[in-house]
């Protein structure tokens, strides 16, 4: 099972290397969005900076993850259907999207530092938050993308379906990342919040593994 999951993961990564235009497309999307923000507000203060960063993450995720299921044609899906089990397939997709999203998040973090200044006191903590957040957001949107692909809809439906579902995690992430802006928390609160985010991630993963087989059959 693990070997087949790896094979699927390798196939997605290879596809990314061969068809680099999608990767660069998202990069350009990130760069231009952040540039627009830079032109409209010069040096936002810490609260605005934090809020903008996470909202941008959300939109990057919609764009980056959306194609993961939409790009698979019907024939290709049928081919995978004969080869692998749905659980292997969805795990491979999720892992691939996590890797992609973490990479994109780190790039956008760099661009934020470059263009919008650096109000972050504890850069290491914020980077850790970005990695955790990127992983959480991409997981939820992978499943949403699978659902939207079934409805033969575009990225708009992914946003409609995904935003309310990701909201609790996003709020927790925004709150927790305030640690990096030297906000003082009640003792034990940080650990509690981080635990809750990771707990939600586990829940999302479990739901994806349980529910994807039902989406898979046609």
């Amino acid at each position: 099972m693990i070997s087949r999951t790896f094979a699927l993961l390798k196939k997605d990564l290879l596809l990314e290397f061969r068809q680099q235009h999608t990767f660069y497309g998202i990069l350009l999307y990130i760069a231009s969005t952040i540039f627009v923000i830079y032109l409209s507000i010069d040096k936002p203060d810490a609260i605005v900076w934090n809020g903008l960063f996470w909202v941008i993450q959300l939109f990057i995720s919609v764009n980056a993850v959306a194609k993961s299921f939409l790009q698979e044609s019907r024939g290709k899906m049928l081919y995978f259907y004969t080869l692998v089990s749905p659980v292997e397939f969805v795990i491979a997709k999720i892992v691939y999207n996590i890797v992609l999203m973490i990479l994109m998040s780190l790039i956008s973090l760099g661009l934020f530092f470059l263009f919008l200044g650096n109000p972050v006191n504890d850069a290491a903590w914020f980077t850790a938050m970005v990695v955790l957040g990127g992983a959480s957001i991409s997981m939820v949107f992978t499943l949403m993308s699978a659902i939207a692909a079934k409805a033969q809809q575009n990225a708009a439906l992914i946003a409609i379906l995904g935003f309310p579902v990701i909201l609790p995690q996003l709020l927790l992430l925004m709150r927790l990342s305030k640690v990096a802006f030297a906000e003082v928390f009640r003792e034990g609160m940080v650990l509690q919040l981080a635990g809750l985010i990771i707990g939600l991630d586990v829940l999302v993963m479990a739901m994806a593994v349980i529910l994807f087989p039902y989406l898979w059959k046609d």
């Binding site: 079934k150 809809q153 439906l157 309310p164 909201l167 609790p168 609160m189 919040l193 739901m207 039902y214």
Partner: protein
């Protein structure tokens, strides 16, 4: 008539709620004063909503276990009535907040909207709004039923912590948030005066039964409409 006992019960309980709720004695607390009577309406709406969503969730699971379209219709209409109750909960809450939370006139409702409980409620309504949009985007009935059942289960699983766990961890204007003396947001059963309890518990049961009643009516209409599609 045998099957109608719970409908009669719902009617009696609601008559009792309205009459008792407006006429019986209530404790007079600072700020709250007589608005405490809204407890019989506002809080019951949220109870009803949550119970209806749980029923909808159960029917979605049942649908995925047997692919019986009947269960999908159940899940859809329970979610619809649940959402309606959620909106009513919002409306009754707005009226209540207007008299208790907003102290001076310059303070707008926007300043209290960022309340954790309100965010949870907003997420719930948005999720079920998305659920109906998703249902609308299919033409194939079986596919619609299957995919929307998947979304319903997934969304409900994430809705649960955002309503029941997160509000317990952050400050809130609702009674019972951390910082105030009890651990339960919105409601602490030990705090409630026995005079309130006498109306409140029947009210919860009455409103929930009414919600189930509305849902069953909608389901029966839908079942008649789709009679030739559902093969038993």
């Amino acid at each position: 008539m045998k099957k109608a006992w719970w409908k009669i019960l719902a009617l009696l309980l609601l008559v009792y709620t309205v009459v008792g709720g407006f006429l019986m004695d209530v404790p007079r607390l600072p700020i709250l004063n007589e608005t405490i009577r809204n407890l019989y309406f506002h809080v019951c709406m949220w109870f009803g909503m949550m119970i209806l969503f749980i029923i909808s969730f159960i029917y979605s699971v049942k649908y995925l276990r047997g692919f019986n379209l009947r269960n999908d219709i159940y899940a859809h209409h329970f979610a619809a009535v649940g959402t309606f109750f959620g909106i009513l909960g919002y409306v009754t809450g707005t009226i209540w907040a207007n008299y208790t939370w907003i102290t001076d006139q310059s303070q707008s409702l926007g300043s209290v909207l960022k309340e954790p409980k309100l965010i949870g409620a907003a997420i719930a309504i948005l999720i079920y709004g998305a659920y109906f949009v998703l249902r609308g985007s299919f033409t194939d009935m079986d596919k619609k039923a299957r995919v929307s059942a998947v979304y319903n289960i997934f969304a409900f699983a994430l809705l649960f912590p955002s309503i029941w766990i997160i509000p317990r961890m952050v400050g809130s204007l609702h009674p019972g948030a951390p910082g105030s003396d009890s651990g339960n947001p919105a409601l602490n059963f030990k705090d409630i005066d026995s005079r309130l309890r006498m109306v409140f518990y029947p009210a919860v049961i009455g409103w929930t039964l009414l919600g189930v009643w509305i849902a069953t009516l909608k389901i029966r209409i839908q079942l008649i409409r789709d009679k030739n599609l559902i093969n038993e």
